[in-house]
């Protein structure tokens, strides 16, 4: 007869480890839940139609955040206009044209990874020095969009590269063997096949850009703008910077702090919505791709 005692101990060890894994997971979920709970419970009260559609009044103690929503929207859009073409083109060059082992290519890759690790406030200073001062764009939508675009480049390049790499070699070979040149192959086969991946990466980058404060505080954002931006050279209000302003400027924290939480709720909802779009697109891409 087989004795069972020897196995019991192993099951015990296994159960202990499973419990540790499970607890870690619960802890993470709980932290996320707590963040959402505190922000929502404090911020939801101030959210109403006026909050979403009016400008701030009386030294940011009343009114809404509409100009900040618009400003963040423009900044995100502008940063995409900068980072999408640059990112896609560089990623195409790196994966499709550059020979992988070349020292210069390796150096560029390393540089891109380093760029991803640069603190965002450093990008802010860079934008201030280059776009605001040297190029003379001033504190403006343009300077902010360029700064944010450059900041999100590493994310865009990396995700586009990953997306391009998932396109099987056999697709490229089939196209080339039909007498397509390299560019035709990339344009007609590789890019369409990797489009969902590119979109996912882009949207994740957008989600990040939307919440950044440091890169825009010296380059684009103001606490209060009397009108919505009329041109690329106007400064803008932005949601993250508005929160910062509400918490650090002004004389009525009792009125401003709830407004800051309300703004945070709007910002979180915006980013979550963007992430959901990314998840949806990725799911659709996976269904469409069966190779």
């Amino acid at each position: 007869m087989i004795k069972e005692e020897s196995l019991k101990k192993r099951y015990l060890v296994q159960n202990i480890w499973f419990t540790i894994f499970w607890l870690s997971m619960v802890l993470i979920a709980a932290v996320l839940g707590l963040i959402l709970y505190f922000i929502l419970s404090r911020g939801i009260k101030v959210i109403n139609w006026e909050f979403l559609t009016a400008a701030p009044r009386r030294g940011m103690t009343e009114g809404g955040i509409f100009p900040a929503i618009v400003g963040t929207f423009y900044l995100v859009l502008g940063s995409v206009v900068v980072s999408l073409p640059l990112g896609v083109f560089s990623a195409i060059y790196l994966t499709e044209y550059a020979s992988p082992g070349h020292p210069i290519v390796r150096a560029i890759r390393t540089a891109i990874h380093c760029l991803a690790g640069v603190p965002s406030v450093v990008f802010g200073l860079f934008g201030l020095a280059v776009f605001v001062k040297i190029f003379g764009f001033g504190v403006s939508l343009l300077s902010g969009a360029l700064t944010l675009g450059i900041m999100s480049l590493p994310v865009v390049i990396t995700s586009v590269e990953e997306a391009l790499k998932t396109v099987p070699l056999s697709f490229r070979e089939a196209s080339l063997a039909l007498g397509a040149n390299k560019w035709t192959t990339i344009w007609r086969v590789v890019l369409p096949s990797s489009l969902p991946g590119i979109l996912t990466g882009l949207i994740l980058a957008v989600g990040r850009v939307a919440g950044e404060t440091a890169p825009i505080m010296f380059t684009a954002a103001v606490f209060y703008a009397r009108r919505l931006p009329q041109s690329l050279f106007d400064p803008v209000m932005a949601l993250p910077y508005h929160i910062y302003g509400l918490m650090t400027e002004g004389t009525r924290p009792d009125k401003q702090i709830p407004l800051a939480y309300g703004t945070a709720v709007v910002l979180i909802l915006l980013v979550v919505a963007i992430d959901f779009i990314a998840i949806y697109l990725r799911g659709r891409a996976r269904r469409a791709r069966k190779w």
């Binding site: 020979s99 070979e173 063997a177 039909l178 007498g179 791709r289 069966k290």
Partner: protein, 252 residues
């Protein structure tokens, strides 16, 4: 002797320092199926890919010698490899349709060559699918994804895609090796029907397949061409001991 479609003269191919093909001399007869057989790693695929310059895309490849097609050496500097590939088509080992519709797969080669007329494209697609013996199975779902097809159907779709641009030579790299026996039989039958219009070079490691489908057979061993001749003769009365050893299964 038959009309010669393609002449391979003193072909040497190197991957870096390693020489994979040694002094290959081979004449490919027009409107016939020429099988290239030999054990794995003997250079069959490399030889096939030399014929439409698909080896160009590999790193560190060097080609010496000549491949004469339509009066000129395809490795001549004045020859555009893209033009070579338009006239010498290829079907791969694993069916590799594009993630597009059945129709768009076949139309792809036409579109990249600048065909604009919708009607002409449609006619050519239908014609190619018919020639590839796939038309009856897909005519009601031309616009559904090519990935909905079975393996054998996908390979016939790839053949349709390759012949849509009307190449003169069709290179096939073990086109049936990933297919089940019934699909294999259909593809082999199709290959026989295509020689009316095309010259076919078929790489295979399946000797029965070579015997069933080819008119001529070239036996390759360790990068050297050991024997070339009528398939019948190679299989029944090989002249070289190595060929006989391979065919009787002493190695391989």
């Amino acid at each position: 002797m038959e009309e010669i479609k393609l002449q391979i003269k003193d072909l040497n191919v190197f991957f870096g320092e390693k020489q994979v093909l040694h002094q290959i001399n081979l004449n490919i007869p027009a409107n016939k199926v020429t099988a290239i057989i030999g054990p794995s790693g003997c250079g069959k695929s490399t030889l096939l890919r030399s014929i439409n310059r698909m080896n160009d895309f590999l790193e560190d490849v060097r080609v010496e010698g000549e491949i004469i097609f339509d009066g000129s050496n395809i490795y001549d500097e004045s020859v555009d490899p893209v033009v070579v590939r338009r006239r010498i088509g290829m079907v791969f080992q694993v069916p590799n349709p594009f993630p597009k519709s059945i129709f768009e797969n076949v139309a792809y080669g036409l579109r990249i060559q600048g065909w604009k007329d919708k009607k002409a494209i449609e006619e050519q697609v239908v014609k190619s699918l018919q020639a590839a013996a796939l038309w009856d199975e897909v005519k009601d779902r031309l616009h559904s994804s090519a990935f909905d097809l079975s393996g054998g159907q996908r390979q016939r779709l790839c053949i349709a895609r390759a012949i849509a641009v009307e190449p003169e030579i069709l290179l096939m790299d073990e086109p049936a090796s990933a297919l089940d026996p019934i699909a294999t039989a259909r593809v082999e039958e199709l290959i026989r029907s295509l020689i009316e219009k095309y010259t076919i070079v078929l790489v295979t490691h399946n000797m029965q397949e070579a015997a069933r489908t080819s008119d001529y057979t070239a036996f390759l061993l360790l990068g050297r061409l050991i024997e070339f001749g009528l398939t019948n003769q190679i299989f029944t009365n090989p002249q070289k001991k190595e060929t006989e050893d391979y065919l009787t299964g002493r190695f391989g």
